[in-house]
Symmetry: C2
Subunit: 222 residues, 2 copies
DNA sequence: TGAATAGTGTCTTTCAGACAATATGCC
DNA sequence: GGCATATTGTCTGAAAGACACTATTCA
């Protein structure tokens, strides 16, 4: 290999989704340096020379949210020459799905400020991060239709109506309760975990997802 | 941005698919330098510092095959620390689909040797290129199920049985002629282009694909 | 018993998939 | 007429989607 080529910088950026306040939200950090100082941006940073890409993404995720063991998926690599005004930066975008109940510390970040934003009310974003989030939302919906990633947004035990709720949030659409439950249960990926207590109405069945279910399960066609 | 980070090299590698001799084939080049000298590898090369990723992929594709205006899609980025024994190299893999009839010159390459290989009879491959090809085959099948990319492997005008043929090759499976035609025509993405001549049997209808058809059309569930 | 949510069944329509006979053009 | 491939329709079973009533717990 000839060594006379200029090397770009390489970063990872992570679109961290969670369901909070009955909305689909994304975690953003406020930049404290130029360019785009004071603007909001995706959490991310340089890939270290001795670090795999997924390790870099996992590290950034932990630094921002303190969570581990979350769903993490490589999305797409954005590398337009002018996407960073300073120098050539290629970024590998990842998507993470976390159940907000798992987040211990919200401000556990070295960046000045971190906040959750509803996907429908994003602030002005640095770089091409708007494009990255739009892309990741498409991917998220696709994944909701064809896989079981939705359960990554829920705690270990959940009710059917909680599952339906996050589908309705992600697709911004109401589903029929009977058809939804029929479809979900027919997939044979859930197991009963007993009745939920402490509710002032008919108590629902709790479910958890079985181990080792196939990746593609075609939950919902929308 | 601090400038004290080490930069990896970044390349693009392209999985170029075509249907040839009733097989799904991939174009490979033989390496004439170490490491993996004499081994076969995916066509690819460094991303230039002033070149977008897709431009780099397009350029490499043209250098190897002489074709332009082909289907090109970014697949996935492979960046394991040890995937290149010399130094850190992150590669952005692309998939290209070409209709072999369009290839003008096969040996139009600066690499010592380029050859088509059946996907089922691949030689020993350099780096992690076997993994990349396996990944791209999965993506290709996925795309065949849910989109109209299959037509990128065909000339402008084609018969229904040619379409069925490439589906059978890609999925390595025989489909029922009546059901296939029924499904394909019901999608309403084809237009008739007249009757093919010069065949010594009942002449088939030629079709072309309409402009501006939606990306997701769910051609075949396999 | 009223409020709140859980849980459940039927009917209709659509579509995938199994299956084979006839049509056309060339020799 | 024989050969080669093109073209086409029906039936069945499964699943999607429309639709509403009963059940359970607590206050």
């Amino acid at each position: 290999m000839k060594d006379n080529h200029q090397r770009p910088s390489v970063t990872v950026d992570i679109v961290i989704f969670s369901i909070r306040e009955d909305e689909l939200q994304v975690l953003l950090v406020r930049r404290d340096i130029d360019p785009f100082k004071e603007k909001w941006a995706l959490p991310g940073g340089f890939v270290k020379i001795e670090e795999n890409l997924e390790e870099a993404a996992t590290r950034e995720l932990r630094e921002e949210t303190g969570v581990k063991d979350v769903y993490l998926e490589q999305l797409y690599t954005f590398g337009d020459v002018k996407r960073d005004p300073r120098e050539r930066v290629i970024t590998i975008a990842y998507m993470a799905l976390i159940n907000s109940e798992n987040i211990k510390v919200e401000g556990k970040t070295d960046v000045s400020d971190a906040r959750w934003f509803a996907i429908k009310k994003l602030p002005l974003l640095a770089f091409d991060h708007k494009k990255i989030i739009e892309y990741s939302l498409k991917r998220l919906m696709w994944k909701f239709e064809y896989t079981s990633v939705a359960f990554s947004l829920l705690p270990k035990e959940f009710t059917i109506s909680k599952v339906q709720k996050i589908y309705e949030i992600v697709f911004d659409k109401i589903f029929d309760k009977r058809n939804f439950a029929k479809k979900l249960l027919s997939l044979n990926v859930l197991e009963e975990k007993g009745i939920k207590k402490d509710v002032s109405h008919r108590p629902p069945m709790l479910y958890s997802i079985k181990k080792n279910i196939p990746k593609i399960i075609e939950i919902l066609k929308v």
